[in-house]
Every structure is written in structure tokens, then in C-alpha cells.
């Protein structure tokens, strides 16, 4: 099956700092999403980004499908950004079945 590796596993930042989270995947995919899991366990959709670049406020993401990686950028981090960030990949022909990476645990300190 597809292997999904996320780095770094843990990240500690001061409020206001910027960060880059990486997701590498082992096979060509046409479905890639980034999620934020808050401390209560809720998974929040951040981006659907099988290729290209998207921005939403302080967050942006870039996927280079040909090189099998995706990056999530967080700028001017806030304490509410703390939590676990997951990358999930799959195929549209296998609609909805996702393989998740191990996540990056982000802690933003005030």
C-alpha cells in the first residue's frame, strides 16, 4: 500500500513564528488532503490539494505531485494552531478511502 511520511513529528514554536510541515508519499495519487486535529479530537479539513498551491488566510499548501510531496505552511502562528496536522492521500477511483500519515504535533507557545 501507499506509504505516507510526515515531518517533523513534533514542532514547538513561539507565537508569531512561521513553520513548514512536509508530507512525502510513495506512489502517485490524485487525492490529497490536509487536516488539523484539535485537542478534542475533531478533524478539521484544511485543504484538498492533489496538485498546485492554495492559500486560506495564514495557511497555504503546495503539492508537487510529480515529486510526491506536499507542504503545509503556517504563518504568524497562534496558540489556537496547536494540535496534530495530518496529511491523507488516496485515489479518486477509491473514493473516500484515505491513507494517513503519522501526523505532525504542533505546539505554539504564547
Amino acid at each position: 500500500g501507499i506509504q505516507v511520511e510526515q515531518s517533523p513529528p513534533d514542532l514547538i514554536l513561539q507565537e508569531g513564528a512561521n513553520s513548514t510541515l512536509r508530507c512525502n508519499f510513495s506512489d502517485s495519487v490524485n487525492n490529497l488532503q490536509w487536516f488539523h486535529q484539535n485537542p478534542w479530537g475533531q478533524l478539521i479539513n484544511l485543504f484538498y490539494i492533489p496538485s498546485g498551491t492554495k492559500q486560506n488566510g495564514r495557511l497555504s499548501a503546495t503539492t508537487v505531485a510529480t515529486e510526491r510531496y506536499s507542504l503545509l505552511y503556517i504563518s504568524s502562528s497562534q496558540t489556537t494552531d496547536s494540535g496534530v496536522y495530518f496529511c491523507a492521500v488516496g485515489f479518486n477511483t477509491n473514493a473516500g478511502k484515505s491513507t494517513f500519515g503519522d501526523g505532525t504535533t504542533l505546539t505554539v507557545k504564547p
Binding site: 479530537g41 475533531q42 473514493a95 484515505s98 494517513f100
Partner: protein, 115 residues
């Protein structure tokens, strides 16, 4: 996106008992899925809940342990049977919706502790 409601949100259960988790979606969806997240771990797909037929289980998961029902296009249940402390996890219901592509959306999860 869809509104996905899971019940219960959390429970503490005795070993050897069973718990049924409900997942209700506010619109009809073809694909529903159940995931498990063990403490400190990532999400692992348990099965695909198929409307009108048996669920399709992933390797390592069996129907006797995790029976699933899907009576209609808006509802599914997952039962965790004969529980042991190793079953303590967050169980999440997911649906696939087509927007720009096929996107997964999740319920708030059920946090299960087995004692």
C-alpha cells in the same frame, strides 16, 4: 460540506461488553467509512460501510469484532464487540463528498475507554 453527528461522543465501558456507535449525516451519501485512532497514533481505516450490502473490511479487521450496519444513505453504526482495554481509541465516521474532487469529511469522533 456535510454535518456528521456521532453518538456517543465518549464512553467508558467494561471489558467484555459491546458498544454501538452511531453516525448520522445530514444528506444522502454513497460512501461512508469507519476509522480507528489508537492513543497517540494516526487514523486507520476499519471498513467501508456499503448501503444495502455487507461492509468491506480492511486487513486486520473482522466483522465479528466490528459489525457494521448501513440501513440507508444517511446512517451507519459501528459496534465494538467483546471489548478489551486494547480497544480504547477514538472511532471516527467519515463520508466522501465530491467538491473539487472527492473529499473526506469526519464526524467529531467517539472517544472510547475500556476498563
Amino acid at each position: 460540506s456535510a454535518v456528521i453527528s456521532q453518538k456517543p461522543s465518549r464512553d467508558i465501558c467494561q471489558r467484555g461488553t459491546s458498544l454501538t456507535i452511531q453516525c448520522q449525516v445530514d444528506s444522502q451519501v454513497t460512501m461512508m467509512f469507519w476509522y480507528r485512532q489508537q492513543p497517540g497514533q494516526s487514523l486507520t481505516l476499519i471498513a467501508t460501510a456499503n448501503q444495502g450490502s455487507e461492509a468491506t473490511y480492511e486487513s486486520g479487521f473482522v466483522i465479528d469484532k466490528f459489525p457494521i450496519s448501513r440501513p440507508n444513505l444517511t446512517f451507519s453504526t459501528l459496534t465494538v464487540s467483546n471489548m478489551s482495554p486494547e480497544d480504547s481509541s477514538i472511532y471516527l465516521c467519515s463520508v466522501a463528498l465530491y467538491r473539487e474532487g472527492t473529499e473526506a469529511f469526519f464526524g467529531q469522533g467517539t472517544r472510547l475507554t475500556v476498563v
